[in-house]
C-alpha cells in the first residue's frame, strides 16, 4: 500500500547517493591527492636525486599492483617477485641483447609477467588462504631457480649496463632527468589504471568476493574467473614496475626475483595501508627512503626495517594511510 509513496521518495533520494564526483568520476579529495602527487613528481627531480625518486616510483607502482590483489581481491600472494623480476630480466635482455627501444623492452617485460601471472594464477587460485600464499611462493622460487640456472640471466652478476636507449628511437633516455619523466608517466598511468580497476564494475564484484566469496557465488558470480583476472592484472602491473626498474638501474639481478623482494612488497603495502588507494605509495616511499638513508648501517638495515615493521603493525594495523583516513573520516 505504501509502495507508491516509497517509490516517490526513492526517486528523490537517488541522485544524492552518487558520491560527489569531479573529473574521471573521482571524489574531489582523491583528485586533489593525485594532482598533489603529480606536482610533487614534477618538482621532485629538481630537489631530490632523480634515481632515488625513480626507485620510489617503481616500488610505489609495484606495491599498488600488489595491493590490488591483496587489498581488493583478498588474495595474499607471497611470490610477487616472480612477476617483478621476470619482467626486469626480459626488458633488460631485450634492450641489451636485441637492442629493442625502451618502450618495446618495457612492453615485452610486462607481457612476460602477464603470461606468467596467467599460468601461475590459474593454478594458485584453486587454493585458499595460506595454501594460496604457499603455492605462489613455490612458483616464485621456481622462477628464482630458473634465473640462477638460465644462461641469459647472467647468474650472480645479472644483466648489467643495460642501455636506456632512445624512446621511440628519438629521445635519448641516458640522462637521468629525461628518463625520469618517462618513469613518472609510466607510474602515473599505472596508478590511474589501478584506481580505475578498483572503481569499476569489475572492482565492485572483486570487493564483494573479498568480503564474502560464498555469498558472491550464491549470487551467480563464477568467482574463480574474477580472482584469476585480478591476479593477471596485478602480475602485469608488477611486471610494468619491474621492467621500468631495469632501465632505471640499468640492471636486472637475482635480487629482483628473490623471495625477499616478495616480502618487501608485502611490507610496503601493510605499512602504508592495505586496501587503501594511496597507502602502498606511502609505504613504498618510507621503505625505499629507509633503505637509502640507513644503507650505512649495513646489515642492520634489515633488522631496523623488521623492528619498524613489527612496531607499526602492532601500533596501527591499518597502516599509515589507513589510520590517517580514519582520522579524516575519508577513505584514502
Amino acid at each position: 500500500m505504501a509502495a507508491e509513496t516509497q517509490n516517490a521518495r526513492t526517486q528523490v533520494a537517488a541522485p544524492a547517493l552518487t558520491p560527489p564526483a569531479s573529473m574521471m568520476g573521482m571524489p574531489r579529495h582523491h583528485l586533489l591527492i593525485f594532482l598533489g602527487l603529480l606536482a610533487l613528481g614534477l618538482i621532485g627531480p629538481f630537489v631530490l636525486y632523480p634515481v632515488f625518486l625513480m626507485k620510489v616510483m617503481c616500488f610505489a607502482l609495484f606495491a599498488c599492483a600488489f595491493n590490488l590483489l591483496l587489498g581488493y581481491g583478498g588474495l595474499l600472494s607471497f611470490g610477487h617477485a616472480a612477476y617483478f623480476g621476470s619482467a626486469s630480466y626480459v626488458s633488460a635482455y631485450a634492450a641489451k641483447a636485441w637492442g629493442l627501444t625502451p618502450e618495446l623492452a618495457i612492453l615485452l617485460g610486462t607481457a612476460t609477467a602477464a603470461v606468467l601471472g596467467l599460468v601461475f594464477g590459474a593454478l594458485a587460485i584453486r587454493r585458499q588462504g595460506i595454501y594460496f600464499a604457499m603455492v605462489t611462493l613455490a612458483f616464485a622460487q621456481m622462477v628464482y631457480f630458473f634465473s640462477v640456472q638460465a644462461p641469459f640471466t647472467g647468474g650472480e652478476d645479472g644483466i648489467q649496463s643495460v642501455p636506456r636507449g632512445h624512446l621511440f628511437g628519438l629521445i635519448d633516455l641516458g640522462p637521468d632527468r629525461s628518463l625520469y619523466f618517462l618513469v613518472l608517466a609510466v607510474t602515473f598511468f599505472g596508478l590511474l589504471l589501478i584506481y580505475r580497476i578498483i572503481h569499476s564494475p569489475f572492482g565492485q564484484v572483486l570487493k564483494a568476493i573479498r568480503d564474502n566469496e560464498p555469498r558472491s557465488i550464491s549470487l551467480g558470480y563464477r568467482t574463480n574467473q574474477y580472482k584469476l583476472a585480478v591476479f593477471v592484472l596485478s602480475a602485469t602491473l608488477a611486471g610494468l614496475a619491474g621492467a621500468t626498474k631495469a632501465l632505471v638501474f640499468q640492471l636486472a639481478s637475482l635480487t629482483d626475483v628473490y623471495w625477499t623482494m616478495s616480502g618487501e612488497v608485502v611490507l610496503m603495502t601493510l605499512l602504508g595501508g592495505m586496501g587503501t588507494v594511496f597507502g602502498p605509495i606511502v609505504g613504498a616511499a618510507v621503505v625505499v627512503t629507509m633503505q637509502n638513508y640507513l644503507a650505512t648501517f649495513g646489515a642492520w638495515v634489515t633488522i631496523i626495517q623488521g623492528v619498524i615493521f613489527v612496531v607499526s603493525v602492532l601500533l596501527f594495523r591499518e597502516g599509515i594511510i589507513g589510520v590517517l583516513g580514519r582520522w579524516l573520516k575519508k577513505p584514502l
Binding site: 516509497q6 552518487t18 564484484v205 570487493k207 555469498r215 550464491s218
Partner: protein, 251 residues
C-alpha cells in the same frame, strides 16, 4: 504431476569422513509454496541446503530443478538458473554500503562484469531499483551505511533484499529469523509471505510459530533422515517428531 514440483531430491546422501550428515533424503518442493525444513540442531538441514545449491557434492543421490538434473552443476550456475540461497550466518558484504550490496546482485543483469576499464558510475542506473528493494525490507534510511556496521536484524533484512534483487524463481533461506527480535521477525515474516506470492521458498526455521504461520508443507529432519512430512497439524502431532524435539532440544 512432474510440472508442479520445482525442486526434487532423490536418495540425497552426504558423508563426512564416515559420518553420515544427510542420509537418503527424498524431498519434493511444490512450485509456489513455502516449504519448511525443520529439525533439531545437527539434523543436517544446512548440509541439505549446501547439497541442493551445489556448495557440496552429494555422496549419492540426484537433484532435479525444473525437471533438469542439476546434480553435477557448479554453485554459481545454480544461481543463474534462478535458485538462490541465503546463509545461516549473516552473509553481507561488510565493506560495501547497503546500497552496493543490493547493487552487486542487480549487476548480474549485465552478465559478467569483467569491464575493469569502465567507471563504476555505469552502475548508478541500478541505484533506483536498489533503493526500492532496500525500502521493501525497511532499510531505505540505511542505504549509504556500510553493511558491516548494521545491527544483526538489519543485516538479515539486507540479505533478503540482495537475494530478491536477483528476482529468483526459488529462494532457500537458512534460518532467516534466527537471533531476531519480535518486531524484526514479524517484518521479515511479512516480507517472506509477500515474496512467496510469485515464488517458491524453501526455508529452515526454528521458530515454530513462524513455520506454522507461513509454511504449507513441512519436512522434519533428524539425524540426517526424514522423520515426517506434511502440513503443520499433521507433523506436530507425530509422536516421532515430538520425541526428536524433546530428546535433542533445539535452538
Amino acid at each position: 504431476m512432474i510440472n508442479d514440483v520445482i525442486l526434487a531430491a532423490k536418495g540425497l546422501t552426504k558423508q563426512f569422513k564416515g559420518f553420515v550428515a544427510v542420509n537418503d533424503v527424498d524431498l519434493q518442493v511444490d512450485r509456489g509454496s513455502i516449504h519448511a525444513l525443520i529439525g533439531p540442531n545437527g539434523a543436517g538441514k544446512t548440509t541439505c541446503f549446501n547439497l541442493l545449491t551445489k556448495f557440496l557434492q552429494p555422496t549419492r543421490g540426484t537433484i532435479t530443478y525444473n525437471g533438469r538434473d542439476i546434480t553435477r552443476m557448479q554453485p554459481a550456475d545454480i544461481a543463474r538458473l534462478g535458485m538462490v540461497r541465503s546463509f545461516q550466518i549473516s552473509a553481507v558484504f561488510p565493506h560495501l554500503t547497503a546500497l552496493e550490496n543490493v547493487r552487486i546482485a542487480l549487476q548480474r543483469q549485465r552478465g559478467d562484469s569483467f569491464d575493469f576499464w569502465r567507471s563504476e558510475r555505469v552502475l548508478s542506473g541500478f541505484d533506483g531499483r536498489a533503493l526500492a528493494l532496500l525500502d521493501e525490507v525497511g532499510l531505505a534510511n540505511f542505504a549509504v551505511a556500510p553493511a558491516g556496521a548494521l545491527p544483526y536484524g538489519r543485516k538479515r533484512a539486507l540479505e533478503i533484499a540482495t537475494t530478491l534483487a536477483l528476482d529468483p524463481e526459488m529462494l532457500l533461506l537458512d534460518e532467516p529469523m534466527a537471533g531476531m527480535g519480535h518486531e524484526d521477525v514479524d517484518r521479515i515474516a511479512g516480507v517472506i509471505q509477500r515474496i512467496a506470492q510469485k515464488r517458491t521458498v524453501l526455508m529452515v526455521e526454528h521458530n515454530l510459530s513462524v513455520v506454522a504461520r507461513l509454511a504449507s508443507r513441512i519436512t522434519v529432519l533428524a539425524r540426517g533422515k526424514v522423520l515426517a512430512e506434511g502440513d503443520y497439524a499433521t507433523v506436530s502431532k507425530n509422536p516421532d517428531v515430538i520425541d526428536a524435539y524433546i530428546g535433542a532440544g533445539h535452538g
